[in-house]
Amino acid sequence: MQVEGGIAVVTFDLPGAPVNTFTIAAQAELREAFDAIQRDPAIRAAVFLSGKRDNFIAGADIETFLEFTTAADAEKSSRAGHAAFAAIADGKPVVCAINGGCLGGGTEFALACHWRIATDAPKTAISLPEVQLGLIPGAGGTQRLPALVGLQAALDMILTGKTVRAKKALQLGLVDEMVHPSILRRVAIQRATELADGTRHREARKHGAGEMLLDDNPIGRAIVFRKAKEGVLAKTKGVYPAPLAALDAVAAGYSSDGDGYQTEARLFGELAMSPESAELVFLFFATTALKRDMGVDVEPLPKAIPVKKLGILGAGFMGAGIASVASPAGTIVRMKDADTARVAKGLAAVREVMRDKLVKKQVTRPQFDDLMLSVSGTTDYTGFGNADLVIEAVFEDLQVKHQVVREIEAVAPPHAIIASNTSTIPIGRIASASARPERVLGMHFFSPVHKMPLLEIIIHPGNDPQVVVSAVSYGRKLGKTVIVVRDGPGFYANRVLSPYVNAAGLLLDEGVSIESIDDALVKFGFPVGPITLVDEVGLDVATKAGAIVAEAFGARMAPNESIQRVIKAGRLGRKGKRGFYLYDETGKKGGVDSSVYDLLPTGQRRSTVPAVRIVQRCVYAMLNEAVLCLEDGILRSARDGDVGAVFGIGFPPFRGGPFRFIDRVGASDVVAALDELEREFPGRYQAASSLRQMAEDGTRFYPAMGKPV
């Protein structure tokens, strides 16, 4: 803290950390600083700045949440936050100068200040992301934000955790001014002086018509709350308690008999102890830890080869999808396919993704033009001569893959990494055709590439660690959550998905309705049910993947009858506009296509299986397979398995992932359920031996207390 002309300038710069968080120590220091400001008569006002380049305050230190053992603990911490921020709000004028990310507790701090200035730097973004951790803002955010920006705008931020950039924050009234970073400090000090002199006052924001009609009167607010609740339930299907609690906390702030701050603290306390929050917090730690894991265990860690130019073979759905994430990452892309018509389709697919960015104003028109110019198409291998990485996304056939590997090696520079986007063929087999097998690995993207967050990198024993590190590093540059798995049929994601989808297919064989299967798993928390999933990925792709794992793993993956029959009838799913569901001309999904039942073993005759049993049959097959993947060494850790399942195949995030789920249910209960299922479906549910051992020993995948990873 420095004092300049009666203005205290407080700079928050957490030592040794890339971002500022409210650690216990930092909280104490800040409290002291603000106490000193209030006590010192020479200080008339204060300016608060961050000492970090690209971050203002990232919010609470999430590790402190792990210390809570009861809801009362968490509630107490929330109340302490209330007291600290109330002291600021009620004290001498404080100007909050925001440059860089301002999240959670950082935003709540800013809300307690008397004047807010944001910089127009691209990194400056304000959010209350607590719901994403299964929590609600606990330091007054649910009370001060609606008071500042109005009910609708506040709910929009609090219920989704969405990020608001400086320009939008200014429009909303969330900040009072927007300036260039170079003058932030000067302007902040000037404002603080003016506030202290009384020559400037914050003026109440003008309310728009919509705001006056709805936010500013009880009847209107009731409508807003009802709509918001409907929206939350539609989006979360009722499985996430945090957004509903946030609504209650905000509503309490408007009610005459309740105390909003008390409600916020109480609900924060309850949520902090909820299993949903525990799992979401686990995923936060798991993904954070994963970002530091380069996928190899060698010392010293080799330096990643930067990928400036990317060659892509195959301009189809996957190839174009990869191009559409590579270009925004600043990579120059050359995309090859057999003929100009295919290349043209690929370019059009890339443009679709870029156009979306333009329409959403994420990029300007010149940036859009540049994104498109970064990707060029070809029908020969020109432009591959300076590729640092070549990803092949050609037809899934070993002979074809061998041929393209040889072709790539003939044109690409010696340092180039060759990655296969195969989802079915073992990487070792593909690498066997290579003159440089140590530079060949798998980069398994999920479809649609620009939306699916997971990238599964598949390594084989001969890989050069530098190649692995480079692929991992580039995958992260593309914005993907990267897990490194070892080679084996189906790798990880498809391998655990197969018995799950197959179990759903077996239920169809028995005559269970499509809706009841999909509904059961959506209620469990999957974004879509398994039958919808098959339609989405395509029946051809699903059966091909199923056949590969069936061949490798025998009885427990023996294919169901139903999906085979439907594909034999020529239905490919959404891409062919005919599958288990109805699709209109534009490909929009309708209800179940009841004519599909004529193709199934029981025809139009339906039988019922309870939803719990449906979930058990599908999910437990997946859980067991995940444990087998860890046992077989496909997975490097349970953490990777959990992150992979959540980000790659839509395992419900609030359940943490297969391994976290087993820990929560208990290995012995899971084994008991598997044994019971095995009796009914012999060969399909044989519990993994390591899991049986854990059941006997009473052990877990993760520690029961403290930081999970």
Binding site: R351, L373, S376
Partner: protein, 431 residues
């Protein structure tokens, strides 16, 4: 120049161009800048060139975009190139790309730069349409107006004739003579018959068609996937008419002199959209990066004459200068690429090469000589391939070098006539 050190040899590493499309067809939605960017991006992709190796982009265009007059800079500001790559635009009418190449070569020869991309682009589908003088005055006055009534008073001065937009004409500002009228005049002055013009046009189409068929001409272009839908793909020059006949050409009416004229749409180059670029490096740089250049620049020269005289005849003055600087004669050349603005112009230029009058004008004691037709424009020229003003110079340079390589020749010369009575010539050599 020599006081700064020895000049370095300049390598033409390679050249590439878009297919040339008649204005208003495939490329009508693309600006010259967009065509230029696509072409330079493809040049870099094809040569596996890293942006960090490029020192500058020099580009030419004849009808510039008013909002972005420095086309070279707009082209250079692309994701494949660092923002620190220098860029400037040049204007020498139809020889603009040649001037871009010459500028680039100078910088390399002087040792200022090692690697420069030079070329040009033109969109004659997208020429800026201007307001009339009267309307411009009104708009300027309205812009300065401080209140509504002043604004209204400014607009009240608009007369109907002010609202007629002004399209740029391909006419000489000093003489008011259009390019076509100049060609017509040259045909008459040099006694070039209608039939010889039609025959030359037919030859151009036949040779270009053969070049496209056997892939020699196609080798210098890349397919352009036309945004936004990419369903249209330009893969070939769409002005080349394989089935053209002398009868069909003879049936066309003269455009510029309906009674006594001979210049028709069939023996003149069409309005065309397209872009072309070449990659130039010092010989050492090309070697260090492992390139096999398609040729080296041996010399170049330019010349000018009174636009009111024979507007497109200056190549006759430029060619002897370039040959003299190269230390060569016409007989030493294995190939000649002569830009075909009009058949009448090509034939007038060839006539000039043989004439004592033009020899003396060029300061020669004897005419340059007769050009062996077997060495001239062996894959056609602008009459058939098309003529995007700013890009043509890059095309002829690339065509010349590639064909010289195929034939195992040693020396080649290109000439380009340009508005304003300007002419350009360059001599290239292999190895």
């Amino acid at each position: 120049m020599s006081s700064h050190g020895t000049l370095r040899r300049v390598a033409i590493v390679t050249g590439v161009r878009t297919p040339f499309a008649r204005a208003g067809t495939l490329f009508k939605s693309l600006s010259a800048i967009e065509l230029g960017r696509l072409c330079v991006a493809e040049l870099m992709q094809r040569t596996n060139l890293n942006g960090a190796d490029v020192d500058a982009v020099v580009f030419g265009t004849v009808v510039p975009n008013i909002q972005a007059p420095n086309i070279a800079r707009e082209v250079a500001l692309m994701p494949l190139l660092p923002k620190g790559v220098d860029a400037w635009s040049v204007s020498r009418a139809c020889a603009s790309a040649n001037q871009a190449i010459a500028d680039a070569a100078d910088q390399i020869a002087l040792g200022h730069m090692d690697c420069v991309i030079a070329g040009g682009a033109e969109s004659l589908s997208n020429v800026p349409i201007l307001h009339s003088r009267g309307f411009t005055d009104v708009l300027m006055a309205a812009n300065k107006a401080k209140n509504i009534s002043q604004k209204l008073s400014a607009f009240s001065k608009v007369r109907p004739k002010d609202l007629v937009p002004v399209a740029p004409a391909i006419a000489e500002p000093t003489t008011g003579e259009s390019m076509g009228q100049s060609a017509e005049k040259m045909a008459k002055l040099n006694d070039i018959s209608r039939q010889s013009q039609d025959e030359f046009a037919l030859r151009s189409h036949r040779l270009a068609a053969a070049g496209l068929r056997d892939g020699r001409l196609s080798a210098e272009m890349f397919p352009v996937y036309v945004p936004p839908r990419y369903e249209k793909i330009a893969t070939t020059d769409n002005g080349v008419r394989e089935d053209s006949t002398l009868e069909a050409l003879a049936a066309l009416k003269p455009v510029f002199d309906k009674r006594y004229g001979s210049v028709t749409a069939g023996n003149a180059s069409p309005l065309t959209d397209g872009a072309g670029a070449v990659l130039l490096m010092s010989e050492e740089k090309a070697k260090a990066l492992g390139y096999k250049p398609i040729g080296y620049i041996r010399s170049y020269a330019s010349a000018a004459l009174d636009p009111g005289e024979q507007l497109l005849q200056a190549p006759v003055l430029a060619a002897p200068k370039a040959l003299k600087r190269a230390g060569l004669t016409l007989r030493d050349l294995d190939l000649i690429e002569m830009h075909e603005a009009f058949a009448a112009q090509v034939l007038s230029n060839l006539h000039g090469f043989e004439s004592q009058f033009w020899a003396e004008r060029a300061g020669l004691t004897q005419p340059l000589g007769e050009v062996d037709r077997a060495k001239l424009n062996v894959m056609g020229g602008s009459l058939s391939i098309g003529h995007p003003f700013g890009a043509t110079g890059a095309r002829v340079t690339t065509t010349l070098c590639n064909e010289l390589e195929r034939r195992g020749g040693q020396f080649g010369m290109l000439t380009v006539c340009a508005a304003g009575g300007l002419g350009f010539a360059m001599v290239v050599e292999r190895v």
